[in-house]
């Protein structure tokens, strides 16, 4: 069961996020690109001046503007700043600016939550002469000096957690700004790994809500799910885990869509446990056991719901995922919300952290084990590296070089030609010799080696990849194939030549 969940859900999810990051950047980065497609009228000419932002401004949040080149005809650029920055004066040097305009809305469909802490600004260029070629961020910007290490924080978990989070943030910032993709890709991977299913559920919910667009339909769906659980409990003598997972997922979705409180699950647990005495009276043991199981599942659901609600109330992160227009933006948001809510530290915060860490560690472990098994098996399975010669006449001796052929102990070690066994002259772990029999008709044949291997306490017959050899007809005339035969003689190993009497 656990394997099924891991292999069918977690691992593909992880691999998907891996691909996404490598090919498209992260979801965060995708949004970045979207943000950067700023519409600009092409009017002015450029010169080589650049804009410098004043490094003394703290929490300076513009990242992507600096990377982008400005077209020669741009009249203005827009960028994002946090409120904190905007309240201070933004000094621009070596450029004449017409003015900075605050724009309150976003034309790009960014999550409105972002608005709450930052604004989009428009920078109008005065004339073509003074327009910069490029925005530059001062690389000396003292990020590392932002957070000072204080030993006392280690004794306070609130502070320690905060500190760790800040370090993580800092790490991504530095890596991102220095364009070292290798260093920030893994934190991003983790972020994506966690956020993808949540995003998917959110989208699904939206989709279903749009599709149904009616609360009453959802109510009836809830009822149907419950009736299914009830009747399966009555009928099914041997319930499987899959059933439980399916029905409990349905129940979870109905709870989520219908915005039920945890009490709904607790009520159901009570409802189910009340049935058990009656089943006991009529000796329906399997039904009473089914209902006990569902009591347990509903209790667990209710409790999980309580935990998630608590987490939501504290952090607002777990059940309401958000798209953020930039790495820094998202981090700033997280920093704000977490540091605001992280004042009270308790068992729930610890358990959520532990669950997240364990799930990540677990998926890494599974992948590692899979890889290890794969390499282990690869090590044992036979592999042909060289077949010599590839073009053969009848009674030519063909030598197969490779590894892990094993010793020919029994009939299960064999060479196959199009599914039939070939008689061998010699067999050792790295070399097999056989003679082309006279009854083979000229033409192409694929040959492969089969051998049993002990793997995972089972014996499996492992095959190599098929190799093609071509049997040439003896015609009396010299055909192009015969030419090729003699050509290949030059490249043959000395051993092969000796075996064939050259």
């Amino acid at each position: 069961m656990i394997n099924k969940i891991i292999y069918n859900f977690l691992v593909p999810n992880f691999i998907l996020s891996l691909f996404l990051v490598f090919f498209f950047g992260s979801p965060i980065l995708i949004n970045d690109y979207r943000l950067l497609t700023i519409e600009l009228p092409l009017k002015y000419q450029l010169n080589n001046n650049a804009i410098y932002f004043n490094p003394s401004i703290e929490n300076f949040s513009v990242i992507n503007v600096g990377i982008r080149k400005i077209n020669t005809n741009d009249s203005h650029v827009t960028f994002l700043l946090t409120d904190e920055v905007a309240n201070k004066t933004l000094t621009l040097s070596k450029v004449n600016v017409q003015g900075i305009y605050r724009l309150s809305t976003y034309p790009f469909g960014i999550n409105p939550d972002f608005e709450s802490y930052s604004k989009r600004y428009k920078l109008q260029f005065l004339s073509s002469k003074n327009k910069p070629l490029q925005f530059e961020i001062n690389q000396d910007y003292p990020i590392t000096g932002l957070y000072k290490f204080d030993r006392s924080i280690l004794l306070d978990p609130n502070k320690a957690l905060k500190f760790l989070f800040q370090k993580f943030q800092q790490y991504i910032e530095i890596a991102y700004q220095s364009n070292q993709i290798f260093f920030y890709i893994f934190p991003l991977l983790i972020y994506n790994f966690l956020s993808l299913p949540i995003i998917a559920i959110k989208k699904l919910r939206q989709f279903i809500l749009d599709f149904l667009n009616s609360e009453s339909i959802i109510t009836s769906v809830t009822l149907i799910v419950l009736l299914c659980i009830y009747f399966f409990g009555l009928i099914n003598t041997n319930p499987s885990d899959v059933q439980i997972v399916v029905f409990s997922t349905l129940w979870a979705l109905t709870v989520y869509f219908h915005r039920r409180t945890p009490k709904a699950s607790f009520t159901l647990a009570l409802f189910f446990v009340m049935h058990i005495p009656f089943f006991k009276l009529v000796h329906l043991d399997y039904a009473s056991n089914n209902f006990a199981v569902w009591t347990y599942v509903f209790l667990a659901f209710g409790l999980l719901h309580v935990l998630l609600d608590e987490a939501h109330a504290r952090y607002g992160l777990v059940i309401n995922p958000k798209f953020y227009p930039s790495v820094k933006g998202s981090l700033l948001f997280q920093k704000k919300t977490i540091s605001k809510n992280l004042t009270n530290h308790n068992i729930i915060s610890i358990s959520i952290t532990v669950i997240v860490i364990i799930s990540i560690g677990f998926s890494f472990l599974i992948i590692f084990q899979k890889l290890r098994k794969y390499y282990d098996r690869n090590l044992k399975s036979p592999r042909i590296t060289v077949v010599e010669p590839m073009l053969v006449y009848h009674s030519t001796k063909v030598v197969l070089y490779g590894k892990s052929f094993g010793e020919k102990k029994d009939e299960r070690f064999r060479i196959m030609r199009n599914g039939k066994e070939i008689r061998t002259d010699y067999w050792d772990d790295s070399k097999i010799i056989f003679t082309i029999p006279l009854d083979w008709k000229p033409g192409e044949y694929s040959i492969w080696i089969e051998r049993p291997i002990e793997w995972n306490t089972e014996t499996i017959i492992e095959k190599t990849k098929p190799q093609t050899i071509k049997v040439l007809p003896i015609t009396g005339k010299i055909t192009p194939d015969d030419d090729l035969y003699f050509k290949q003689m030059d490249s043959l190993r000395k051993e092969t030549k000796e075996i064939n009497g050259f």
């Binding site: 069961m1 656990i2 306070d156 009570l270 009473s288 199981v293 347990y296 209710g302 308790n346």
Partner: protein, 680 residues
């Protein structure tokens, strides 16, 4: 006044578990069981054995540091009882009475600290927890001292809460002595781990009550106090465990750990929720079995439903949810291989280290389920303090008390027959005696017939006849020295089948067997086959109703031939043998299982003490090599000056015994520190 009334009520109710034994107080002397409960026959005689980390008697000697833990409290109580001229049965009953009394008080103290609205309901809920029919199962299959863990944990939790709130050093001292009392129940590694985990989880819950720094400090102190109180037996045990960790783990995986499929067969979800398993073990009469087990089940259904009600109808607190959280985790572990999510459990069981300690989940963690349920019921009573619920719970409590009386004698009183006394006297009088116990029972648990009231499990003979002995009961399968096991089994089969006297003789002499004791009072299909022992090699000495004792002929007795002089001291862990005159042979044998922990020191009376110490400890040039003898025993090669004509003492010392003494010293130091801190 009211306070004493509660105590009086508890004092009266605690008589319930020992009620069925009142009629036996004068007729029987000892108390046994069927299971792991090692019977105490004569405490003063067993003192040396009980205070030793090494059991030199069973199966050629084995390291048994867990045995030490049984000293407290029951063995010490037995010592006190014997000094007061009470029989062991009477002392045991006193012990059971005191355990239940302490359990009721501890649960009441815990409940009162959290739910102090109605004392009456607290009393009733305490009775429901302490007199749960589940605990009757611990009377039957041994494990009896473990009950103290279940009974005293609420008190420990109560003390920890007090330490967090008030920080009284007297509470820390109380916690120290409580955990000292519980050492017998913590002797099993799994219980110790579970106990520590439970307490530490509870401490984590209390972190919000204080600053982090202070909480961490208190947690460290509390853990140190609990472990310190048990250090005297944990120290030798831990060293032994660490030395043999690999063996222990592999053994656990292949033997006990592998039986979870059988052990957890009955633990379906309904049976867990409503305590419906093992009732057939403690209910005596099959006629009423279904009715009473059904009633137990329904009573738990009521308790469980009551526990759930506040979650649905009331706004509950975080602590309430935490209890539910723990309850659900415990149920998941309890149901183990049963649906739902059996595969998940199996995966965890096989891959997570130390998960195998719950190889018999019902005996390891079911009490936690009952305890959480008790708390949930108390929550219910807090939200719904109506009298009707009080009455309902009172009925359940009375029902549980009545089950205790109805189920009768789970522990079995017995007297040692006179044959046994004769045999004991005979064996103890003959020098260098070692006993082989027949008939062969094929690695099963032994069980005696009615002459010993059907006791069994751990054989009382091991402590009774205080001479090395071999038998092939279940515990032979548990010893790590496989050579000994094979040798014993081979010798037993040789007695039944071998016709060649010379071969039989060599088999017997390799183990050093001088006597063969045949039990006639086994309660099984294994019958006494005397015809096999009609051999001239075996000379019958005692032929009683319950046993027959044979002496092995002198020609087969090659044992200890080179050291047959006076044994000056003979303790389980220390043997001092005195030899006079020159030593011809340069090899010395010790007929105990080969163990590198056995050390040999030579003491020459002609030399000074300093020279002897220097000789043994600094430049050990007399004792050369320690190796296996006959594949299982100890052999030392020694070099003694040929002109040495003085008296030589051979000192065999089992070294880990010293850890026990170090542990005792550390525990005493801890007591002194705690007392001083209290004074200040």
């Amino acid at each position: 006044m009211k306070r004493y009334l509660k105590v009086l009520v508890f004092a009266i109710i605690s008589f319930v578990p020992i009620c069925p034994y009142f009629i036996d107080i004068t007729t029987y002397k000892h108390l046994g069981a069927f299971g792991d409960l090692a019977q105490i026959i004569s405490p003063f005689e067993e003192l040396a054995l009980r205070t030793s980390v090494y059991n030199h008697i069973a199966f050629g000697g084995m390291h048994e540091p867990f045995n030490l833990a049984n000293l407290s409290p029951f063995f010490i109580l037995q010592i006190i009882g014997t000094s007061l001229h009470l029989s062991t049965l009477q002392t045991w009953l006193l012990g059971i009475y005191l355990s239940y009394f302490a359990g009721l008080l501890s649960t009441f103290a815990f409940l009162n600290s959290y739910f102090n609205k109605s004392q009456y309901t607290n009393i009733v809920v305490s009775i429901i927890y302490i007199f749960s029919p589940y605990y009757l199962g611990f009377f039957h299959p041994g494990h009896f001292p473990i009950l103290l863990l279940f009974f005293l944990t609420p008190y420990c939790i109560y003390l920890i809460k007090k330490v967090f709130e008030v920080n009284m050093s007297s509470d820390i001292l109380k916690l120290f002595f409580t955990s000292l009392l519980m050492s017998a129940s913590l002797a099993n590694v799994s219980y110790l781990l579970i106990f520590m985990v439970v307490l530490n989880i509870y401490i984590f819950f209390l972190y919000s009550k204080s600053t982090f720094k202070r909480s961490l400090y208190i947690q460290t102190v509390l853990n140190a106090v609990i472990l310190g109180a048990n250090l005297w037996w944990i120290l030798p045990t831990l060293i032994y465990f660490l030395k043999n960790a690999a063996e222990q783990f592999s053994y656990s995986k292949t033997h006990l750990g592998a039986v979870i499929n059988i052990a957890a067969k009955d633990l379906s979800m309904t049976n867990i929720l409503f305590n419906n398993f093992e009732s057939s073990n403690f209910l005596p009469d099959n006629r009423h079995l279904t009715i009473i087990s059904g009633l137990i089940e329904y009573s738990y259904m009521v308790l469980f439903t009551l526990g759930l009600v506040p979650f649905v109808f009331k706004k509950t607190s975080k602590l309430h949810y935490s209890v539910l959280f723990i309850l659900l985790i415990i149920i998941f572990l309890l149901k183990s291989i049963n649906p739902p999510f059996a595969d998940l459990f199996k995966y965890m069981y096989e891959h997570i280290p130390l998960m195998q300690i719950i190889r018999r989940p019902q005996s390891k963690i079911y009490w936690l389920y009952l305890f959480s349920l008790t708390i949930l019921v108390s929550y219910f009573l807090r939200y719904y303090p109506k009298k009707i619920y009080g009455y309902l719970l009172t009925i359940i409590a009375i029902f549980y008390l009545s089950i205790y009386i109805y189920s009768g004698k789970q522990l079995r009183p017995f007297n040692v027959p006179t044959d046994y006394q004769q045999a004991k006297k005979y064996i103890e009088e003959s020098p260098n005696s070692q006993v082989l116990i027949l008939p062969s029972i094929n690695l099963q648990l032994i069980q005696y017939d009615k002459s010993l009231n059907g006791i069994g499990g751990v054989d009382f003979l091991k402590n009774y006849i205080r001479r090395p002995q071999y038998s092939d009961d279940l515990y032979l399968d548990l010893i790590l020295n496989k050579n000994t096991k094979n040798k014993v089994l081979r010798t037993m089969s040789a007695i039944y089948s071998e016709k060649d006297d010379k071969k039989l003789c060599s088999q017997l002499s390799e183990l050093g067997i001088t006597h063969i004791l045949v039990r006639k009072n086994m309660n099984s299909n294994i019958k006494y086959k005397s015809q096999y022992l009609n051999n001239h090699l075996f000379i019958s000495q005692i032929d009683g109703r319950h046993l027959q004792l044979f002496k092995v002929a002198e020609q087969c007795n090659l044992h200890n031939s080179n050291l047959n002089d006076k044994t000056k001291i003979n303790l389980p862990y220390l043997k001092v043998v005195q030899t006079n005159g020159a030593i011809i042979n340069n090899r010395v044998h010790l007929y105990q299982n080969f163990d590198t922990n056995w050390k040999l020191y030579l003491y020459f009376s002609s030399k000074s003490l300093y020279e002897n110490i220097k000789n043994n400890l600094l430049f050990s040039n007399t004792v050369l090599l320690h190796s296996r003898y006959f594949g299982f025993a100890n052999e030392w090669m020694i070099r003694v000056p040929t002109n040495e004509n003085s008296t030589v003492y051979f000192i065999f010392l089992y070294f880990p015994q010293l850890y026990f003494y170090i542990g005792i010293i550390l525990t005493i130091i801890m007591i002194v520190i705690l007392l001083r801190v209290k004074k200040q």
